[in-house]
Amino acid sequence: MRGYAPILLLFLVALALPVIIWNLSRLLRPYAPSAAKASTYECGITPATEARDQFSVRYYLVAVMFLVFDVETVFLFPWAVQMKELALFGLIEIGIFLFLLLFGYGYIWSKGALTWE
């Protein structure tokens, strides 16, 4: 495992910390629930509709576009590290790849997918 044990130890300690703090504070903190405390916070007004409602489709668009471009960067990482070994061949390959990607980027730009108004 090439010495990933410290990460595991750090993970366990970081996981234990909130749990320990919560259990310690349970011994000290008060517990006095009431109807007013339990209601949804909406600046003092009685909640009218459900919170989990429809919202703008643009958030989904961003998620989809992010996926495309993030995969692009994932492809670029190995090339960036091995660039000198791959020489001209790699440069042309990545050039074609980036050209196709930039074409799509220009397309979504012209379609207005990047415009939030």
Binding site: L10, L15, Y31, Y41
Partner: protein
């Protein structure tokens, strides 16, 4: 028959080994535990300190006094420094409220999901120069160089912070929370692209992604000079990733109360709040490592363990202060401006910088 055991007095025993022997631990294990504590408690205490710096700094910038009432034993005020302890204690003693309309599992999970990436993010960043003690080399980063993850690790872990925000937003079942959570996730995801392309340009010039290699490659000249565009893009993206003020739409208090934190209280709120500050410390450390030579000291080839740790700390504290400084200087953007900046300015700029660096390296051969 003379034994082959090495005589203990033949060589000075390093102090770390003495402590490890006293605790009946192998020196490697002891060093690992020490490093885990440094990597966890270092950013944690810096983040706690940063909450104080934020409040006193904002007061300074706005010509106010700031918190100065908390005092040790009612006497020593120490520039409002005990306020950190007072705030922590207050959060600790508050009633812990789980709203009945919330999703209980997500509501409890959200602070952990927020805290874990923040706490794990520091693991590969070298906080000082490796040093020799006895016949061992001690590396001042939790994972030794050549671990195969390198700088990909903090980026991957940092990206996981979105889940904490989304769990908090969806679990709270509150309109403000969901608005804030949606905004925050779209924003973090958008700026991640420009950020990874900027980091990619550093990997390109280094020819590797191990932080030790990146710092080694900055021996003569810090990366900020040849990659000034990349640095500006990366630093801007860090503001969006940590949700700091020019881009703090996730919890813009004048618009959506406290965003995804609206329903949180007591220790849960404190954990999520602290995680945000830890993210700032980690972001500062990343900026220092990628662009400002990590633990390097100008005009000193080998600063040694103590000076290098101090230099790294100074850089981290400086950039953390810039985060505070910017927060109290710039007004909040609009959300469409944020998206335009991210997708239409920073992404092409970052890609252009990447291609330029690739071209320059290819020309140099």
């Amino acid at each position: 028959m003379p034994t082959q055991r090495p005589r203990p007095w033949s060589r000075p025993i390093p102090p770390a080994t003495v402590i490890a022997r006293a605790l009946h631990l192998a020196p490697e294990t002891f060093w690992m535990v020490v490093k885990v504590l440094i990597v966890l408690l270092g950013p944690l205490s810096l983040a706690a300190l940063l909450t104080w710096v934020e409040r006193r700094g904002s007061a300074m910038l706005q010509d106010r006094i700031g918190p100065n009432r908390a005092a040790i034993l009612g006497r020593w005020r120490l520039l409002g420094f005990p306020q950190i302890v007072a705030d922590g204690l207050k959060a600790f003693l508050k009633e812990d409220l789980v709203p009945p309309h919330a999703n209980r599992v997500l509501f409890w999970l959200a602070p952990i999901l927020a805290f874990l990436p923040a706490a794990l993010g520091f693991a590969v960043i070298p906080f000082g120069q490796s040093f020799q003690s006895g016949d061992r080399t001690y590396h001042m980063s939790l994972l030794d160089p050549g671990n195969g993850m390198g700088m990909l690790y903090p980026m991957a872990i940092g990206a996981l912070a979105v889940y904490g925000v989304l769990a908090a937003a969806w679990g709270s079942n509150n309109k403000w929370s969901i608005l804030g959570g949606m905004r925050a996730s779209a924003q973090m995801v958008s700026y991640e692209l420009a950020m990874s392309l900027a980091v990619l340009a550093v990997f390109l010039t280094t020819g590797g992604y191990d932080p030790h290699e990146i710092i080694e490659s900055q021996r003569g000249l810090w990366n900020v000079v040849p990659q000034v565009v990349g640095f500006l893009v990366f630093f801007t993206c860090m503001f969006a990733e940590t949700g700091r003020l020019p881009f703090d739409f996730a919890e813009g208090e004048s618009e959506i109360v406290a965003g995804y934190l609206t329903e949180f209280g007591s220790m849960k709120f404190a954990l999520m709040y602290l995680s945000e500050y830890i993210h700032i410390v980690t972001a500062s450390a990343l900026v220092a490592t990628l662009y400002f030579g990590g633990w390097r000291v100008p005009f000193v080839a080998d600063p040694g363990p103590i000076l290098s740790v101090l230099a790294f700390l100074a850089k981290v504290v400086f950039f953390a202060w810039v985060f505070v400084w910017v927060r109290w200087t710039l007004p909040r953007f609009r959300y469409d401006q944020l998206m335009r900046l991210g997708w239409k300015v920073l992404l092409p700029l970052s890609l252009g910088n990447f291609l330029l660096q690739a071209f320059l390296i290819y020309r140099r051969g």
